[in-house]
């Protein structure tokens, strides 16, 4: 009688306490059905690099290539039930494929790979809004743009400010931020596109997704750039100035990260920032484990110990 009472109390501790687990333990919880795993795969600044770099390339010999990327994505999809595949812009410009076909092939391949969404990078304006619209029907995934206002352009209603994805019983909200166009892109290319300050826009959509739409995870697709020496807004600054974002998938500065960078947001909560250079040389991968019932994401702690069950 006394023993059973005690074990009841101990089980309460187990459920209620913050336990520290290794990724292997988290995987076993997924197998047992106690946790849900979400794999977020992502690219940025692929810049029309359909083929791998030449084998004699001084910097990136033989790296990248759409076919290899697709193969890897297929493999990860086979191993994982819940995969989200995202891109952070600058799909266009960088090889003759874009000059010749205007982006048709890039968008066709991404559609075949099953991309879930992208956002507009500055180079995606390179053939103007007309050029963008001419190939847009090849994209079977949405352009998520939250701070570009296209209402006075031919892109009106062709992009969306956010999207909610459902994976298992997990709800994921995604919104997108673009870089300031003035001084970066020729005005005749972006026309009447209005750029809005990313910070208030990010706070607005992250709050809407996290608190009103009750998303379990909020992802920001950002083409703002990872870090600058001057006071331009960057992903590092965005993380510090906002709330309710869990992951920022970045681009624009072609920053190669080996793994996601951990930052604290405005409220001291954890935000991850990831970016994978450019040209499809790397595939970004961030894995989240959610408690199946509470749908809380298992937090990351760099110096935690393995979870030990109380006996």
């Amino acid at each position: 009688m006394e023993n059973s009472r005690r074990s009841f109390l101990q089980s309460l501790f187990l459920v209620g306490g913050v336990g520290v687990v290794s990724q292997a333990k988290a995987e076993s919880l997924v197998v047992k059905g106690e946790a849900v795993k979400l794999v977020v795969l992502h690219t940025n600044d692929v810049h029309s690099h359909v083929d791998p770099f030449e084998d004699n390339d001084p910097k990136y010999p033989g790296l990248g290539g759409a076919s290899r990327r697709a193969g890897l994505i297929n493999k990860i999809r086979k191993e994982n039930e819940h995969v989200l595949l995202l891109d952070a812009g600058d799909i266009f410009q960088g090889t003759p494929y874009f000059n010749m076909y205007g982006g048709e092939l890039e968008l066709t391949l991404m559609s075949k790979m099953g991309y879930d969404a992208t956002t507009m990078g500055n180079h995606d304006f390179d053939n103007g809004l007309d050029g963008f619209m001419a190939v847009n029907h090849h994209a079977k995934f949405p352009y998520i743009c939250s701070n570009y206002d296209f209402s006075n352009t031919i892109l009106k209603d062709k992009t969306i400010p956010y999207k909610i994805f459902y994976k298992g019983n997990i709800k994921i909200g995604v919104f997108g931020l673009g870089v300031e166009l003035d001084g970066l892109v020729d005005k005749k290319l972006y026309g009447e596109t209005i750029y809005n300050d990313p910070v208030p826009v990010a706070n607005k959509y992250a709050k809407l997704l996290k608190t009103e739409q009750n998303c379990d995870l909020v992802i920001c697709l950002s083409h703002l750039g990872y870090e600058y020496q001057d006071d331009r807004i960057s992903d590092l600054k965005l993380a510090e100035k906002t709330s309710n974002i869990d992951l920022i998938i970045g681009g624009h500065t072609h920053t190669f990260l080996d793994q996601a960078k951990e930052m604290k947001n405005k409220e001291g909560k954890k935000v991850l920032i990831n970016q994978v250079g450019w040209a499809g040389i790397r595939l970004g991968k961030v894995e989240f484990y959610f408690d199946k019932t509470s749908k809380k994401v298992y937090e990351y702690s760099k110096n935690g110990q393995d979870f030990v069950k109380i006996k």
Partner: protein, 279 residues
């Protein structure tokens, strides 16, 4: 939180197990439980970005099939011979026939485009950078692919209006970069309208269309990369006026080479001492 729980349980062991103590302990536990997060902590960031190198063996054949017709057509287009060059063209300091060739065609094509947006003013000359000319042109067949190699960047042509003072600064910059001790990449090609005589890294004489530099506005056609201060060409910053021609440098080169072919002309270029050393 876990520690507090242990303490509570420890205390619990030594208390009389009456119903009221159960209640107290339970209440205490519930308060503690409500105040804590109900999730686990992973012991490191579950993020590893994968390098797409030859170790990734899983190619997608259907993607490969999708690419193939585009790649084949692209290759055919890149291999297309657009014209023939009667000489090999290379960059040089203080001038090279390749720099002269591209600067002259930029002036030529630039004037055509400039007429469409400004029928009052005229361009004085063209300026480029050797560093932006990424390959030599061979004697013989010139393919479209070769032009893409020569100019892989997406730079556009712009016309910059400069004051006399800034123009002098520009010529002084060219003189400084025409030092034979420097890498050829530092050289600054100019179109044939300019005649510049340099002595000891300084401008000795400068003429545009055989006339001396006077106090007026001068118009230079160049790439937007340089116009934005690229290669430290600071004399282009804060100009009197910037006018975009709406044509890429590479497209201007292609246009010229194709036009010459249509006119039955092969490509020619020579050094003509437009930039030279003198006393």
């Amino acid at each position: 939180m876990l520690l507090l729980g242990y303490i509570t349980m420890f205390v619990f062991q030594f208390m009389k197990h009456t119903f009221s103590t159960y209640l107290v302990v339970f209440s205490l536990l519930l308060i503690l439980l409500n105040g804590c997060k109900q999730y686990y902590v992973l012991n490191n960031t579950a993020s590893t970005n994968v390098v797409l190198n030859e170790e990734v063996k899983s190619e997608d054949k259907s993607i490969e099939e999708e690419i193939k017709p585009f790649r084949d057509a692209l290759k055919a287009s890149m291999d297309e011979v657009l014209n023939e060059s009667v000489v090999e063209m290379t960059t040089g300091i203080p001038e090279g026939n390749l720099g002269n060739f591209v600067a002259d065609l930029v002036m030529d094509i630039g004037e055509d485009y400039y007429e469409k947006i400004n029928d009052e003013d005229e361009i004085d000359f063209a300026l480029l950078n050797n560093g932006g000319l990424r390959t030599s042109l061979p004697k013989g067949a010139i393919t479209r692919g070769k032009v893409f190699e020569l100019m892989p960047f997406e730079n556009e042509l712009v016309v910059i209006t400069l004051s006399k003072d800034k123009l002098i600064e520009l010529f002084e910059f060219v003189a400084l970069k025409s030092d034979t001790n420097l890498s050829v990449k530092k050289g600054v090609p100019l179109s044939k309208e300019v005649k510049l005589i340099i002595n000891n890294k300084k401008v000795k004489e400068a003429y545009i269309d055989k006339e001396s530099i006077v106090s007026r506005e001068y118009r230079v056609v160049t790439s937007d990369y340089l116009a934005n201060g690229g290669d430290k060409m600071n004399f282009f910053l804060n100009p009197i006026k910037t006018e975009k021609l709406g044509v890429k440098l590479r497209d201007a080169i292609l246009e010229y080479i194709i036009e010459e072919k249509e006119d039955g002309d092969k490509l020619e270029a020579k050094k003509d001492k437009r930039i030279s050393y003198g006393k």
